[in-house]
């Protein structure tokens, strides 16, 4: 048990911070800890949470995905066309939205793996393309999403916010089993030491391709859930989600050098970030000053994460 806590200490710290923050938030919220407050909080958190999951898959293989927000924007705009009408049509539409996200990710992966272009450059370029397509689809925000469906996804199940249920399913139904597969382990191996992974007989190209495709898929899911929350399509959401998704994974203990972290951490990081923003909203800090404070908190969190370097007794370790 102690070993388990030790090896997952980053996630444990993130979870603890989140619980404290949430307690403060619910304590200070004028309407207290009601299902209504929890639902709105959870919805906001989950949008960024899914975006952070997308970012996690790119970061864990020592990459980065600057198109997370763009994939969200594109799938959100696609969703605003497809998620209305017959029940069957909507079901197909939801699948299509996620497939669009996964395809975007696959394209990123192909450019990175076979184009041999660094992820930061490749995804910067594809991000513009994805946003461009989204703008063609929705020059101005608009469209519609079936209200019954949107309500079902964004309200609560027996008092528990649906968004929390979705996060739970993502962790228990997807992540925990996935971590025990060859692909799940391969992601970490690739991010931690590509050479060791290759020499162990792992198909590194396939793993990297899969990682970026998963990033796209989660970007699509984030876009889909965003559609349920806002019930419109908006091509202008890309930039802030990309940056926040990176901030969220860092807060959640995922190392940008790859190979360390987990989906749970990424989710926790996103929830922390959104909770801080929500706290700020009620704290009386002028809204114009909020980015400043968010930035300071983020910088402090990252600094704490990097404090390991100070403990290194060999100066050369600071550079590795």
């Amino acid at each position: 048990m102690l070993d388990y806590l030790k090896s997952n200490r980053r996630e444990m710290i993130a979870a603890l911070v989140l619980i404290v923050l949430l307690a403060v938030y619910l304590g200070t919220h004028p309407r207290g800890a009601s299902t209504y407050v929890m639902t709105i909080w959870a919805n906001q958190c989950l949008i960024l949470g899914l975006a952070a999951c997308a970012q996690f898959f790119a970061v864990v293989v020592r990459g980065i995905d600057l198109s997370v927000g763009a994939v969200m924007a594109l799938s959100n705009c696609v969703a605003s066309y497809l998620l209305d009408g017959s029940a069957f049509g909507i079901a197909i539409g939801m699948v299509a939205v996620v497939v669009v996200g996964a395809l975007c990710g696959l394209i990123n992966g192909l450019v990175v793996v076979y184009g041999r272009i660094q992820p930061i450059v490749a995804t910067l370029a594809t991000a513009s393309i994805f946003v461009g397509i989204a703008l063609l689809l929705r020059p101005t925000p608009g469209g519609a999403v079936n209200y019954d469906l949107a309500d079902a996804m964004t309200l609560d199940v027996l008092g528990i916010p649906t968004a929390m249920v979705i996060a739970g399913v993502a962790v228990i139904g997807f992540w925990l089993p996935f971590r025990r597969t060859g692909l799940g382990l391969g992601l970490y191996a690739l991010g931690s030491s590509e050479q060791a992974a290759f020499q162990s007989g792992i198909n590194t190209k396939f793993i990297r391709l899969a990682a970026f495709t998963l990033a796209g898929l989660f970007g699509g899911l984030a876009g889909l859930f965003y559609s349920f929350v806002t019930t419109t399509g908006d091509a202008g959401i890309a930039a802030s989600f990309t940056l926040n998704s990176i901030a969220a994974v860092v807060l959640g203990g995922v190392l940008l050098r790859g190979g360390v972290g987990s989906l749970i951490g990424a989710l926790a990081g996103a929830f922390i970030l959104k909770t801080i923003a929500a706290l700020m909203f009620f704290s009386g800090i002028p809204s114009l000053a909020q980015p400043l404070f968010e930035g300071l908190i983020l910088a402090a969190a990252i600094a704490i994460g990097g404090a390991d370097v100070l403990r290194a007794r060999n100066k050369l370790e600071a550079f590795s």
């Binding site: 090896s7 970490y188 191996a189 060791a196 162990s200 792992i202 793993i207 007794r313 100066k315």
Partner: protein, 509 residues
């Protein structure tokens, strides 16, 4: 049984006319090589002789420029480690193939036979755990992160990982370099058992007594070619060394200058300790003296050199430079005229050079930060470049395009330009051809004769014996033996490296 019969007729692995070129460098040149089942085949050669390249070709990490690889008499193309694995060719690499951020269990699962991208089954773990238990690795926790293991523990895991793949051909490339003598013996028992079950073993080791104990046949490589293959015992140690080197050892090294016991003490380190990994090390180097640091890899000698150059935080002990007590807190301090140390790091490619930049830019790096020198002045380097006889096509040529030997000369030249009082060298001849080695030996002797104090860390016994006036052998962060004059023999160095005296004493206690 039938399969075995056909195995006996066809060699398990046959390489025909194999060449591997890296740019202009020929790592292997027209090599024929055969490996039979049920046999331990040792491959000997100096650093840079082509052994590791040969192994990487077999393991599918590299592909040959020319030539053909046959398995069971059939030509195969090994385009990845995965392809090699599918033929039962398993390599235990010198550079460990373990993923540092994953646990021991996860690493073993990753390498398990039949592991793909799907659900991982843990049945194969039993075999790995069995192997670990047999090589005294039972204390290694399956849940421990590999990055938290010691080097010997990692090698044990690596061996278990290789064995669990049930190899037909097992390559052991310096597989036991960090292991203690008793563990090595267990590993050898395991290897012999595998051999008796029909596995072919390729064995690379720098420890000659290990080769003698384990190998059935020996192939000697030199300069990318196979010189000879013979049964163990057909040639004695000296003959084999001569085969590896291509000339008599004595001819490689310059004659020693008689020691001057009352020369000025340039560097005097007392009770140096650091982080529990180095304990109470004393070192005294006089003008014109070459002092060797020996021992197996990772016993603290390279850390100690780094420490002398101010790279380790919170080290204990006293350092005196030319009699003056001095505290060296950083490389920048260490290179100032008052101290004038120079450090040639172990890995010239990542620590000694900026590969993409030109020779001139690399040369300037050491002199930058010395207020009394003009780093951009080419005259500063002219003398040392000439002394080193650096071959180049203009000083703006990127150092990446130079051969290993010439790269090392650039590293030396940039420090010699500062006229160091004391030169700290970490394995300066690793991976360098014999000719350049001889040149470097001659230069070191020349520098010593001119009054430079030299500390030479080496993994090559001959360098310690033939070049050094005195050698300190490290084991587990301590100096376990200081050998000079008549005591400076290969047997004594090997015994001290393995800390044999202490071991046998412990066994009797």
């Amino acid at each position: 049984m039938v399969a075995q019969m056909s195995d006996m007729k066809n060699p398990l692995l046959e390489m025909r006319g194999i060449s591997k070129h890296f740019g202009a460098t020929k790592a292997l040149d027209g090599v024929d090589f055969v490996c039979n089942p049920g046999e331990v085949h040792a491959v000997l050669g100096e650093n840079g002789a082509g052994k590791s390249t040969l192994m990487k070709l077999i393991a599918g990490v590299l592909q040959p420029t020319h030539g053909q690889i046959c398995i069971d008499g059939k030509a195969v193309f090994l385009n990845s480690p995965k392809a090699a694995l599918s033929h039962g060719l398993v390599c235990m690499f010198q550079e460990l193939s373990l993923v540092p951020d994953l646990t021991v269990r996860e690493n073993l699962l990753l390498g398990a036979p039949g592991a793909g991208i799907g659900w991982l089954r843990s049945e194969a773990l039993a075999k790995a755990q069995d192997v670990l238990a047999r090589i005294e690795g039972k204390s290694i926790k399956m849940g421990a992160r590999v990055a938290d293991l010691t080097l010997p523990q990692r090698q044990q895991v690596e061996i278990a990982k290789a064995m669990m793949k049930r190899p037909r051909l097992l390559i052991l490339d310096e597989a036991t370099s960090a292991l203690g003598a008793s563990v090595v013996e267990r590993v050898f028992d395991l290897v012999r058992e595998e051999r008796d079950n029909g596995t072919a073993i390729l064995f690379i080791s720098h420890r000659f007594h290990e080769v003698e104990a384990l190998a059935d046949r020996i192939s000697v490589f030199r300069n990318g070619q196979r010189v000879e293959t013979f049964m163990t015992g057909d040639h004695d140690y000296t003959e084999i060394i001569n085969m590896m080197v291509g000339q008599k050892i004595e001819e490689l090294f310059p004659a020693k200058t008689p020691a001057q016991p009352d020369a000025e003490i340039v560097l005097d380190v007392q009770n140096y300790s650091w982080d529990g990994r180095l304990r109470d090390i004393n070192l005294r180097v006089r003008r014109g003296q070459i002092v060797g640091l020996g021992g197996l890899d990772g016993q603290g000698q390279s850390m100690f050199l780094m420490g002398l150059f101010g790279l380790l935080r919170q080290a204990e002990g006293t350092t005196a430079i030319a009699g003056q007590p001095t505290r060296i807190g950083s490389p920048k301090q260490a290179k100032q005229q008052a101290i004038a140390l120079a450090y040639i790091p172990e890995d010239r490619k990542t620590e000694g050079l900026i590969l993409d930049q030109g020779i001139q830019e690399n040369l300037e790096l050491a002199a930058i930060g010395r207020a009394d020198l003009d780093a951009t002045d080419p005259a500063l380097y002219a003398a040392s470049l000439e002394q080193l006889a650096l071959k180049h096509g203009g000083l703006d040529q990127p150092v990446a395009s130079l051969s290993g030997g010439n790269q090392q000369k650039v590293v030396l030249a940039k420090w010699l330009a500062l006229k160091p009082r004391c030169l700290l060298l970490a394995d300066p001849t690793r991976g360098i051809d014999v000719k350049t080695k001889t040149q470097i030996y001659a230069i070191l002797r020349q520098l010593a004769d001119q009054g430079t104090a030299i500390v030479l860390l080496s993994t090559d016994y001959e360098e310690l014996i033939q070049l050094c006036d005195e050698t300190h052998v490290f084991f587990d962060g301590q100096v376990v033996a200081s050998l000079a004059d008549g005591d400076l023999t290969a047997e004594n160095i090997i015994a001290a490296s393995l800390n044999l005296d202490a071991k046998s004493r412990a066994a009797h206690a």
